[in-house]
């Protein structure tokens, strides 16, 4: 083989373009491989740099919390796409819909009759003692039982090519704007790679989201007003808030732009107050309404929960969805799917040791150097210890934390994540990837074809999280 893949070797890992180690290259990627073969590395590199500059000029950036000096930074775009077949996608889509359905049934249960807790399907303490559990939601009904209207389900693939769920994101998942922008970039900068290949489009995400927001609006409203509520410019995903408001064709507001009167939410406009019916909020629960949550919050809207309770406004996502995507609750999700839906899970979890269980803790302490240890209440890749990559000191800190507060941790085996050829410093090398499909739920659940493929740019790194300096790729679902 010539061209950019000529020296590429994915070793023991499953490759999204080549397939399983030691087998002939995947048939369905033949077209893209042939096209990559016609390019030389230097040309590809130059065009990639042009594309990256364009991204920066468009302002597509992501604030990285761990790098204190960096206010914004680009989530680097890698030009070599990740490809999924129609069958792969049908399987993933069905699995994601099933998972999101179970998440919503679980939320309706824990803020309602609590059957799963009483039947011992999941430890009641994990749910009721969880810092993301919101008593303010008890007994409150939401339209269509859809609590988590926007969900991101993180999926990985092992060395045999099997898909598994790594994490659920049911609060305010971000990253979908990269999916849309990456596709734009691909079509514009690399027409030679995309022509005549049938790729499922992604540009209907905004209208689909808007449609769901209308479906969950108070029932008696003919033409509901939807807004996107952002915490403002200091939020790491602010550019995404602007982007999505534009894609949906709705106003982008901050807390100070909204006011609650007579348990109704209004937007301050130059023409006076205008009623708001659905709020796609990208603000965490704690900051939403100082009357109910953190009294010192200036980002939220005083009285918002009164309006929600009165049925005068819908929130997407609902308050308190964080209890469903907690990493400890995640471990029980396959059992919850069986319990609520009487179905076998279509997508398995990654094997998870729940350190609150003494055997699991003992196993974790004995195998610390082989496992990934994660705190359960955090999100965004913070506080994770990757055993095989950790120093002796890091492992000792992790051990001490585990012994001090075992309930706060889970551990998982390190998975040989699949790789994808990635352009790094003038070479094409295998880099680990994951996939975050996005599901939108109003009356029913719809999944954006593909999703965000994140890539760990550091050699051997398994952390693909965008707050940890990963990059992203265009994800193709073949039609």
């Amino acid at each position: 083989m010539s061209g950019v893949l000529s020296r590429y070797d994915h070793g023991e890992f499953y490759c999204e373009i080549m397939g399983q180690s030691g087998t002939p290259p995947l048939e369905y990627t033949a077209a893209i491989r042939e096209r990559l073969a016609t390019l030389d590395l230097e040309a590809l590199q130059r065009r990639a740099e042009d594309a990256e500059r364009e991204l920066y000029n468009l302002g597509i950036t992501f604030t990285v919390y761990s790098e204190k000096d960096a206010i914004d930074r680009i989530l680097p775009f890698d030009v070599i796409p990740r490809v999924l077949t129609r069958d792969d996608w049908a399987h993933l889509e069905a699995g994601v819909i099933q998972r999101v359905t179970a998440i919503n049934l679980f939320l309706a249960d824990v803020y309602g009759p609590q059957h799963a807790l009483k039947d011992g399907i999941i430890p009641a303490e994990l749910v009721l003692g969880n810092s993301n559990y919101q008593p303010a939601m008890i007994g409150l009904k939401v339209a269509h039982g859809a609590y988590a209207n926007i969900c991101g389900i993180d999926v990985v693939r092992n060395e045999a090519g099997k898909f598994m769920v790594l994490e659920d994101n049911a609060r305010t998942p971000s990253g979908v704007s990269y999916v849309l922008e990456n596709r734009n970039m691909m079509l514009r900068a690399f027409p030679d790679l995309t022509t005549d290949i049938s790729i499922r489009p992604v540009d209907n995400y905004g209208p689909k989201l808007q449609e769901a927001m209308v479906e969950i609006a108070p029932a008696d409203v003919a033409d509901p007003q939807v807004v996107l509520l952002s915490p403002g410019t200091y939020n790491s995903a602010y550019f995404e808030h602007i982007f999505l408001a534009r894609e949906m064709g709705v106003p982008l507001v901050e807390g100070r732009d909204l006011v609650v009167e007579n348990d109704r939410v209004y937007m301050k406009t130059t023409g006076g107050l205008e009623r708001v019916h659905t709020i796609y909020r990208r603000l965490n629960d704690d900051f939403l309404d100082p009357e109910v949550f953190r009294p010192e919050s200036t980002l939220g809207v005083p009285g918002l929960m009164r309006a929600v309770r009165a049925g005068n406004v819908a929130l997407a996502n609902s308050v308190g969805t964080g209890v469903a995507d907690d990493k400890a609750v995640y471990a029980y999700m396959p059992r919850l799917i069986k319990y609520y839906m009487s179905e076998e899970p279509i997508l398995d979890n990654v094997l998870t040791h729940i350190c609150r269980e003494p055997d699991a803790l003992a196993y974790t302490l004995d195998h610390l150097a082989e496992l990934v240890v994660k705190p359960v209440a955090e999100s965004g890749g913070y506080g994770i210890t990757v055993g095989p990559k950790a120093s002796k000191e890091e492992l000792e800190v992790c051990r001490a934390n585990l012994l001090k507060d075992p309930n706060n941790y889970i551990s998982q085996p390190t998975i040989k994540l699949s790789v994808c050829p990635t352009l790094v410093e003038g070479e094409v090398e295998p880099r680990h990837v994951d996939l975050r499909p996005f599901a939108i739920t109003g009356k029913s659940t719809w999944v954006l074809p593909g999703g965000l493929t994140r890539v760990a740019l550091r050699r051997g790194s398994l952390v693909v999280n965008s707050s940890q300096g990963g990059g992203s790729k265009d994800t193709w679902v073949l039609g």
Binding site: E125, M137, I138, G303
Partner: protein, 298 residues
């Protein structure tokens, strides 16, 4: 059995006019095994423009109201008539050891679900080894839970001094443990922190004490304001109330208003106001036995 009339007055005086106020009141007493609400009236001046009564996530009755006319003063008056049944301290022998109870909670089951919201961190209370260490002397392995709890209640009462100057509403339990001083809310939070830290579920109870004791009995501490104490889970559907401020088990002298994970869940009045400037708050509570109630009933 005894019947009380209670009055809880709250007056806010604002330095500048308040143009809009939303308040959430935990002022209507909840019913329980040992009390039954006979009558409740909540008067607010100025007249609220909205008024919503509902039940919160911990089954407490709450009222949300808004005042939309400009005001320099807000008066909230809660009038209560309530009937109390005496509470007998349970036979220690009838209950398991505290550590057996904890083991049962760790294991879980349909009849322990009610306890778990009260065994973890909450807004104002964080579980910590320092609290577990403080509680340890009274919780030796195998000690019956009621016996251990009564001993612990007495020890907090003996080792902590009632001192309204020492703390504020935001003083964390850790600081209370250090200075060994505070008021009823501090002692309740401290006790809850200690119990949760050794794995026992405990909730915060807000309420009132009778103002003047029956003849021959001392006046209880905290009798002319809102009071706070603790309820500990000692088995399915069984909570033992403890008042560390007075080293007693609440019975005919304690009227329960609400319970939650800590003060933040059940603050009598919690509001968001527009305007107001500096303000002064006065709170008064009176609890007197209802005279001649037997005759009244006829």
């Amino acid at each position: 059995m005894i019947r009380y009339q209670a009055r809880h007055n709250t007056v806010y005086d604002y330095g500048e006019p308040v143009t809009l106020a939303h308040h959430l009141a935990h002022l209507r007493p909840r019913d329980s095994d040992r009390q039954k609400l006979l009558r409740h009236e909540l008067r607010v001046d100025p007249e609220p423009t909205t008024w919503n009564e509902r039940i919160d996530g911990f089954d407490n009755p709450i009222v949300q109201f808004a005042v939309q006319e400009p005001h320099h003063r807000l008066i909230v008056e809660s009038l209560i008539e309530i009937e109390l049944e005496p509470f007998e301290v349970p036979e220690a022998a009838a209950y398991p050891a505290w550590d057996a109870l904890r083991a049962r909670l760790d294991e879980g089951g349909p009849d322990t679900v009610e306890a778990y919201a009260f065994r973890q961190d909450s807004t104002l209370i964080e579980v910590d080894d320092a609290f577990a260490a403080y509680a340890a002397p009274d919780f030796s392995p195998g000690r019956p839970v009621v016996e251990a709890l009564l001993a612990f209640n007495a020890r907090i009462n003996g080792e902590f001094a009632f001192d309204p100057q020492a703390t504020t509403v935001t003083t964390p339990p850790r600081e209370v443990l250090r200075v060994k001083r505070g008021v009823c809310q501090d002692f309740a939070h401290l006790m809850i922190a200690c119990l949760r830290s050794i794995g026992l579920p405990a909730r915060y109870v807000s309420g009132y004490l009778r103002t003047t004791p029956p003849p021959g009995r001392p006046r209880l501490v905290g009798a002319d304001q809102s009071h706070a104490w603790v309820a500990v889970w000692i088995g399915p559907d069984r909570w033992l109330e403890l008042d560390p401020t007075n080293d007693c088990v609440p019975s005919l002298d304690h009227i329960t208003v609400a319970h939650g994970r800590d003060y933040d869940d059940v603050a009598p009045l919690r509001g968001i106001i527009v305007g107001g400037g500096p303000h002064r708050l006065q709170v008064g509570v009176d609890v007197v036995p209802l005279k001649n109630w037997a005759e009244k009933k006829v």
